[in-house]
């Protein structure tokens, strides 16, 4: 093997082999995802401490969220993880058409998730559940009777704490989805230009890692936020 390897398409000059380049990219992405874990981790810590302090308020707050919408979004997101994984598979096996197809489907599922999320947020604001608002009317000193989700006065401040955490955590997650949508658009554009083949597909794989990470965050958010008060509904 000569000291100066012949030029391989997709191999940056500071790497010796494609293997080394792929390994560097993968480890680098994982280091980034670990910082992301810490980023979300602080919020999960806040959630844990407040839930143990205000168990009743958290159950009631969770009860105010829509399980059907949350469940739909969970299915949409896990499905998008599957299509992303299929996209990686298509890239690795050099199937250009399939790669573009799966990336577009992943992007559509991402937009579906964000659409459902915005419906949820709109409903919450309408119901005076966005924490900046309150159902409490300072003039009549009573809860607003037009609000269908009247929160018991005793735990009102606890429920507001839950709702702050709900909006913070799902908002940060939704922001990651928006970034992910931008990433998918870039990947689709690169795939259309024929940049990827069975030898060079690191951007797809690394984009996939990001996408699956966002999915994992939601896998934890769904039961913790939506389901902790679900038993209040069913009366078991």
């Amino acid at each position: 093997m000569s000291e100066h390897a012949e030029h391989v398409p997709g191999l940056a000059h500071h790497f010796a082999t494609m293997e080394q380049q792929k390994e560097a990219g993968t480890v680098g992405m994982w280091v980034f995802l670990v910082t992301e874990l810490m980023f979300f981790g602080g919020l999960f810590l806040v959630y844990t401490i407040f839930r143990s302090t205000y168990p009743e308020g958290f159950e009631y707050g969770s009860f105010l969220l829509s399980v059907p919408l949350g469940l739909t979004n969970t299915v949409v997101l896990i499905l998008s993880s599957l299509t992303m994984a299929m996209g990686v598979h298509s890239a690795q096996t050099g199937k250009q058409g399939a790669l573009q197809f799966y990336l577009v489907v992943t992007l559509l599922l991402c937009l579906a998730f964000l659409g459902i999320k915005s419906i949820e947020y709109t409903t919450k604001v309408k119901d005076h559940l966005f924490p900046a608002y309150t159902t409490y009317n300072p003039v009549t000193k009573e809860a607003d009777p037009t609000n269908t989700h009247a929160v018991p006065t005793k735990i009102k401040s606890e429920v507001r704490t839950f709702l702050w955490i709900y909006f913070l955590m799902t908002g940060l997650h939704a922001f990651h989805m928006i970034v992910g949508a931008g990433m998918l658009v870039a990947l689709i554009w690169m795939a259309r230009k024929g940049r990827f083949n069975e030898h060079y597909n690191s951007p797809i794989e690394i984009g996939g890692l990001y996408w699956h990470f966002v999915d994992i965050v939601w896998i934890f958010l769904f039961p913790l936020l939506y389901l902790s008060g679900y038993h209040l509904n069913s009366g078991h």
Partner: protein, 126 residues
């Protein structure tokens, strides 16, 4: 040197099926109230789902030792964040309860109400 590993489609579909089963399970279980076990059950199912995603969708099962060490170190550090903070928090609350709460003058209209234990953190003056 391992040649570029391509995960078969069948594996992806199996994992997807397992994730769907986990989702249905976590919703079904949430209909019942197991008290303080609720969180534990929810987190166990979510952790299993997350592990499946990490190992197979994210290819960590087939990854190099270096990648696995980076992930392991990250999760370990995250565990320090959660466990140490919660331990500290709980110990401080017990310390507060052990010392008792500062008595407040009781207003006339509050006299009939049952005594309530303050759940708030101790502040500097106590």
């Amino acid at each position: 040197m391992s040649e570029h590993h391509v995960v078969p489609v069948k594996t992806y579909l199996t994992i997807f099926g397992a994730l769907m089963v986990g989702t249905v399970l976590t919703v079904t279980v949430a209909k019942y109230n197991f008290g303080s076990l609720n969180v534990l059950i929810a987190l166990t199912i979510a952790s299993i789902k997350a592990t499946l995603v990490i190992l197979f969708f994210m290819h960590v099962y087939y990854s190099s030792k270096l990648t696995k060490v980076v992930i392991g170190a990250g999760i370990f550090w995250f565990a320090i964040l959660i466990i140490m903070t919660i331990t500290d928090y709980r110990v401080r609350q017990n310390w507060h309860i052990g010392l008792g709460t500062v008595e407040k003058p009781i207003a006339a209209n509050e006299k009939q109400a049952a005594p309530q234990h303050s759940n708030s953190m101790p502040n500097g003056g106590h």
